[in-house]
Symmetry: C2
Subunit: 426 residues, 2 copies
């Protein structure tokens, strides 16, 4: 048919094992004939009238919830090591069941070191002190008087993808491996504005941030970051920051590892050197292969994951599939994402969903014609600084397997002939 | 002090009655001394240790909720005209209590003509028929096979701000007047892809869209829109579309009046002329001054509202305030927003929060030094097509007060000496 001839170029291969050209996405229509997509022409009409079209529906709600049919779209977490102290650890975002780039606040990953405090915003205070001209204390009412800024930014736990620091690949899904990652529209006050009001002593070079949770979570970060793009956040995705993400006040250090974005922020102390708190000595230090460690590795390195297909989302027979995922870098914008269906032997560029924002999740998509045979799907991101996500072999050769944190090697899903996806090392 | 001298230029006036230059926002630090912001230096240290810092917090949650202290941040709606048929009407977004540009899905405005249907996604079908080569029916599983796109887009009810179609200003707040407006990150399939698969008959010029709710809400829209940027949405802000916003499938016609973004989408019929359904004849037609009406006015015209200060958010004495609001246009990007504190006698440009996206809400901010006297706050938006939001006098002169829909004149909040804001016509 003329239709097939017209559309064939759009379905042209771009890499091995069925990866198609991104022209498939960039043109208006689909290479539907070539791709064999799923609509049914049989008995299209008349469409049956379902029961919910026959009776009035339900009333408005003050604060809405998802459909009752979406009960599986939830965060997951491991049972606590000590049942007497819940809320120590983390819960994970179900990225295999989401799309777009904004993470619903209800599904933003949680990480707490002594549970989620129940803070009365009227009583909460933020203290700025140390090497300042004048210590200041702010109520939320005080903070509400300052000019605000908004930015869409990801937060990723330093320990995200830590399950890949093993010799053998574990049978885990995208939520279990990569779920300590989320992205929100944050609104608050520029930290530089608050520090300017307190008056920065020229000896100040670092800032200690401390949370109001019972663990007193605290980290040191360079003053230069405070004066660059740090924010004290009051709002997350339009509404007040959620309790497990720092209500009523969270520090945002865009692009820096998650724990430094101190939640329940109560204190900022300007100091001349890092404080070496428990949270930056006993934790969040990257062990290397030999008897060395990296400390104070702040920005999240360039990284990407494929969220679909992924374990648990079984492919329903050969044909067209969208490969979709997320890419991000703590150092700026994503410049390029490439995908492979043959375990990295060949790559082709994916489409990046606009707008591509700095230090935010970027959704990428690629077209894949699955022939029904084995495949290994990979994505490889490059950021605007030119940093490229390393292969696992490169990563392990450089850092070994003891690091715990900042794992950013290319990840692989193996697709078997039944259409099942599995975490593999390739 | 040298500090004041250095910072004084940043607090320079830009329009009457205290509107400051937007350099106040664009430079790194604040003109804090000049503005008299709210931090307290007295007894800053030691900071009291609150009770929630003394005991472990709560556990992780599968699907999170706001803090119990945020119970006032809810949608509002009028009691139904007939208590036997709830869910006919609309509920409104509390924009005075939100910030940023993404509306939480839980607070997205709701508009339904026969309540919210409880749709089983396994049973739901979308039919594409009429002037097509081959009628097709799609299950959600079918639709999940197609390539996806995402975009941040506003939806505004045609009747939003309809409360301003009165001779006398009513004592209403931003939620009651302007709350039929929300903005989400939508993800779905391009409608053009589905129509291409069905095969468009050259005689087709319009599309009928019908919902699966009991009202059978249905609208006609030009085929050109379907082939431009129309989407069939599966996801809203990362997760599946919420029930009151069309679960499991919503049509998105970016920039077109809300009701045309048909929820619970079950049927698209290609036709050669508009169908003249009940929803586009008895409703959603704009009455003009004389015996004329506008029909099929689809895109939302350029518009803006000030969300803060606004009624209910009392100013706490003279000093610095951020004037913050939202601007949007169904015809593209916002190019400029100007604010006035003297009822429109003088305007100065506001800062637009990046990224400024087409057919999406754009947050604007301006700096205001309130002297404590009476003021009338206004915002005036201009879009990239050059359209400028009209004054109320211009709008009423052109359209009269019987229109019900598409009110987009400049809105005014009067601030009295007690710091209370009131809806006024100015």
């Amino acid at each position: 048919m003329g239709r097939k001839r017209k559309e064939a170029p759009r379905a042209e291969p771009a890499a091995g094992n069925g990866i198609l050209s991104r022209r498939f996405f960039l043109e208006r229509t689909l290479a539907a004939g070539a791709a064999g997509l799923g609509a049914s022409a049989a008995a299209a009409e008349p469409l049956a009238v379902p029961p919910w079209s026959r009776e009035p529906g339900s009333d408005f709600t003050a604060y809405g919830q998802p459909s009752r049919f979406e009960g599986k779209v939830v965060r997951s977490w491991a049972a606590p090591a000590n049942p007497a102290t819940p809320g120590i650890g983390s819960s994970r975002t179900p990225h295999h069941l989401l799309d777009g780039t904004i993470t619903p606040s209800a599904l933003h990953y949680e990480r707490s070191h002594s549970g989620v405090p129940d803070i009365d915003p009227e009583q909460h205070r933020l203290l700025i002190h140390g090497l300042v001209r004048q210590p200041l204390v702010f109520s939320l009412e005080d903070l509400s008087r300052y000019p605000r800024v908004s930015r869409i930014a990801f937060i990723e736990c330093a320990g995200n993808s830590g399950a890949l620091y093993t010799a053998q690949a574990q049978p885990l899904n995208v939520q279990a491996i990569h779920g300590l990652l989320s992205c929100s529209d944050w609104t608050g006050v520029k930290l530089s504005a608050l520090l300017d009001e307190a008056g920065i002593d020229p000896r100040a070079k670092w800032v200690l941030a401390e949370g109001a949770d019972a663990s007193g979570m605290s980290r040191s970060f360079p003053l230069a970051k405070a004066l660059d793009d740090a924010m004290v956040c009051l709002y997350q995705n339009g509404e007040r920051v959620r309790p497990s993400n720092g209500y009523p006040l969270r520090l945002l250090l865009p692009g820096f590892e998650g724990n430094m974005n101190v939640k329940w922020l109560r204190r900022l102390k300007l100091v001349d050197a890092p404080i070496m708190t428990k949270d930056e000595t006993s934790k969040y230090t990257i062990l290397l292969k030999e008897d060395k460690a990296w400390q104070f590795v702040f920005p999240i390195e360039v990284k990407s994951i494929i969220t679909r297909p992924s374990p648990g989302l079984t492919l329903k027979g050969p044909g067209f599939y969208e490969i979709s995922g997320l890419a991000w870098s703590g150092n700026g914008r994503i410049r390029r994402v490439e995908v492979s269906a043959d375990g990295g032997q060949s790559f082709a560029p994916a489409v990046l969903q606009e707008p591509v924002l700095p230090k935010a999740l970027t959704r990428f998509r690629a077209a894949w014609q699955w022939g029904g045979g084995p495949a290994v799907l990979q994505s490889r991101a490059t950021d605007e600084t030119g940093m490229v996500q390393p292969s696992r072999a490169q990563f392990v050769a450089e850092r070994g397997l003891r690091g715990n944190f900042h794992y950013n090697a290319i990840a692989s899903w193996r697709i078997d002939q039944a259409g099942e996806a599995t975490n593999v090392f390739a």
